[in-house]
């Protein structure tokens, strides 16, 4: 299970939803939020040894912000 939190000032809900759709084949994605952050939990469907899944997800979100 990988977790990451993204600051709401810099990441939009739409960008996260788009990234979530792109990651659905790879892992289960759960997004919760508090006042400041989106909290994203990623559970890989198959353990392929990817350590940076959460950071990769953050990169996708950032890419969707442009």
């Amino acid at each position: 299970m990988k977790k990451i939190q993204l600051n709401k000032h810099f990441y939009s809900k739409e960008a996260i939803e788009m990234a979530k759709r792109e990651f659905l084949e790879l892992c289960y994605v759960n997004v919760t939020e508090n006042e400041k952050f989106y909290r994203i939990t990623l559970i890989p469907k198959e353990d392929d040894g990817t350590n940076d899944l959460a950071r990769l997800f953050a990169n996708f979100c950032l890419g969707n912000m442009k």
């Binding site: 600051n7 000032h9 810099f10």
Partner: protein, 138 residues
């Protein structure tokens, strides 16, 4: 391993660098653009406050990469996009005028007005074409 640069706005750690950016110097849209260029090479996460201080975490994707090079590239992109944005802002007014003029060129209402003003400027018909004058006198 932990070091900073002379300006103390970059903190180098083992696998990542933490950059502190003043949003008054580099606006958020410029930071997004610079980050977008580098997402193939590094993991980038933004944090902080977009009005006071923006924190950028740059983490290398592979062991063989040189973190300092990536950070340097990020700063170069920041400068590139800042200049581009400044130029775009400076030319925004001119661009708008050119676009308006281009769109108005074939507007029938505008053409009619133009024709009317042309006629009003020339009550004695001096600007009339020679061929038109010949036709009138024949």
């Amino acid at each position: 391993m932990e070091e900073t640069n002379e300006l103390k706005n970059i903190e180098f750690k083992k696998d990542c660098a933490l950059l502190t950016i003043n949003p008054q110097i580099f606006p958020l849209e410029v930071i997004y653009s610079a980050a977008y260029i580098l997402i193939d090479k590094a993991f980038i996460v933004l944090d902080g406050n977009p009005k006071e201080q923006i924190l950028v975490e740059i983490r290398k994707k592979e062991e063989t990469q040189e973190l300092k090079k990536i950070v340097q590239e990020f700063y170069e992109e920041l400068l590139n996009y800042s200049v581009y944005k400044k130029q775009t802002d400076n030319n925004a007014g001119i661009k708008e005028i050119i676009m308006k003029r281009a769109l108005l060129t074939n507007d029938p209402h505008y053409m009619k007005l133009k024709q009317m003003s042309r006629n009003a400027d020339d009550p004695e018909g001096i600007k009339k074409r020679w061929e038109e004058n010949e036709k009138d006198t024949a």
